[in-house]
């Protein structure tokens, strides 16, 4: 059954303030729409449940990318092409630039937004492993003000997050402190373009005198939502990169993840690939060190 445009209200209040006023006046009633690469697919198929939509596309405050000495703040409605074209993101956050290049195709990257990827909350979201590895913070906004949470605490369940009913995603902040870290991102999917991840792992680590001083691991498609692998990180922190450490990390990862069987893959395949990706990263780290 095709979607019927007459059954859905779509309004464009214009400014960010006017959007926030609308969300405050009727909390939970309005569904924000930016690039439409998720909601319009549901609409076309006649399965868009939202009947009242508020437009975010074209609001400049939400699309700016601001660079300060200590961080990069990406507006929630910055598109993946915006990210790929940004000099500082390419230079200092190459994992995010690479993840952006994995989003669908050019025609999807020109419309799909970083905030939309996170608000949609797919467990397989392409941008999430990189954001987790970079220790991103999420800034939310409402008429009540703004506040931030670590990205690792943003998702709270399958397609659920901590946004209040009157809040919007405002910006995603990346700390500019990964120049010395070894960085890794690998997605395993069916083909290069357009494919959704069977499993993906992002990582940053700092190795000093052969000991892991910092490590962050972000995973997609290994849990009901994109997940920071904190227990695996704990197994590695402060350790020398010996064969025993690698084996302990593999065991921690297996214990920590909760992959499922679905149309794209099986839980068993995902587990095996995930530990192999982790090992690939750790061996790379041992062989080449962090970029000191």
């Amino acid at each position: 059954m095709r979607g019927n445009a007459e059954m859905h209200e779509l309004v464009a209040p214009g400014s960010l303030g006017a959007v926030l006023d609308l969300l405050a006046a009727e909390p939970g009633q309005w569904t924000p729409i930016a690039g439409g690469t998720e909601l319009m697919v549901a609409f076309s198929a006649g399965r868009l449940n939202a009947h009242k939509l508020v437009n975010l596309w074209g609001i400049p405050d939400l699309r700016t990318i601001e660079v300060t000495p200590h961080s990069v703040a990406m507006g929630a409605a910055a598109t993946f092409l915006d990210l790929r074209r940004h000099t500082v993101i390419n230079a200092e956050f190459p994992l995010l630039a690479r993840a952006a290049s994995w989003i669908g195709s050019v025609a999807n990257q020109s419309r799909a937004t970083l905030g939309g990827n996170l608000a949609n909350g797919s467990p397989a979201a392409d941008s999430s492993p990189a954001l987790l590895a970079y220790d991103a913070e999420i800034e939310m906004i409402s008429v009540r003000g703004r506040h931030k949470v670590p990205y690792s605490e943003f998702h709270s369940g399958y397609k659920q997050n901590v946004l209040a009913a009157d809040e919007l995603l405002y910006a995603i902040h990346l700390p500019r402190r990964f120049a010395r870290h070894r960085q890794y991102l690998r997605k395993v999917g069916t083909r290069r373009a357009m494919a959704i991840a069977k499993v993906a792992l992002g990582a940053t680590a700092l190795l000093e005198q052969g000991v892991i001083r910092e490590i962050r691991l972000g995973a997609a498609s290994l849990a009901p939502y994109p997940m920071r692998l904190k227990q695996t990180e704990t197994a590695l922190l402060g350790q020398a990169l010996t064969r025993e450490t690698v084996l302990a990390a593999r065991r921690a990862l297996i214990a920590e993840v909760q992959p499922i069987d679905d149309i794209r893959s099986t839980a068993e395949y995902r587990r095996r690939v995930a530990v192999n990706l982790l090992e690939e990263f750790l061996l790379e780290l041992r062989r080449e060190g962090s970029r000191l």
Binding site: G3, A5, E6, H8, E9, L10, V11, A12, I33, G35, G36, T37, M40, V41, F43, S44, A45, L53, N55, W57, G58, L81, R84, R85, N90, P94, A97, R98, S101, W102, G104, S105, V106, A107, N108, S110, R111, L185, R186, K187, V188, R192, A193, M194
Partner: protein
């Protein structure tokens, strides 16, 4: 109303204005109506095709404000004020665009359903990378599916079009080729 202001006069819906192939257009349609359907049904520009209707196949690709978009995923309200180019905007006064000529000469079109989208994706690419590498051509067309040609002739057509045009030597910086795994 003059010829440049062809409008659907259903006053029930608010007016949405944009430019298509250089002509101002005004439509009175539900704001959630897909740009694809507005182009085909309200403006009778049926060159833009619907394939999957979910942004996977690229048949409905058009250029909007100098970006390639899948028109099946654009609610027409978001086209307010935009400059849109469809496949009908490629040929100038009956003279084919070099891309269209190259597709003809190189067997880049077979059944034709994907062709308008392929042409628009290629036009977007060449507008920014007048002399793309084969890798860049393949990335530029990665969201456009063809079920007949096997893609080789399409890629060859785009390369031929790039060779055939005397272009501005100013090149834009290449996007990092990051599609490869790792």
């Amino acid at each position: 109303m003059n010829a440049n202001e062809k409008a659907d006069t259903n006053a029930h819906w608010p007016a949405i204005r944009f430019t298509v192939n250089g002509e101002s257009r005004t439509v009175n349609v539900p704001p959630m109506k897909r740009l694809l359907d507005v182009l085909r049904e309200d403006l009778h520009l049926t060159g833009t095709k619907e394939g999957c209707g979910e942004g996977e196949c690229g048949s409905c690709s058009v250029r909007m404000n100098d970006e390639l978009v899948n028109s099946c995923l654009v609610p027409v309200l978001q086209a307010e004020g935009a400059e849109i180019q469809t496949v009908e905007g490629l040929a100038l006064e009956g003279e084919l665009d070099p891309l269209q000529e190259a597709f003809l000469q190189n067997g880049g079109a077979q059944c034709g359903i994907c062709t308008p989208g392929m042409l628009m994706a290629a036009a977007q690419l060449l507008a920014h990378r007048p002399h793309p590498s084969e890798t860049e051509i393949r990335e530029g067309l990665a969201g456009n599916l063809c079920r007949c040609t096997g893609f080789t002739r399409i890629v060859a057509s785009v390369a031929a079009a790039a060779r055939s045009t005397e272009s501005n030597p100013a090149m834009e910086p290449e996007l990092e080729q990051t599609h490869h795994a790792r």
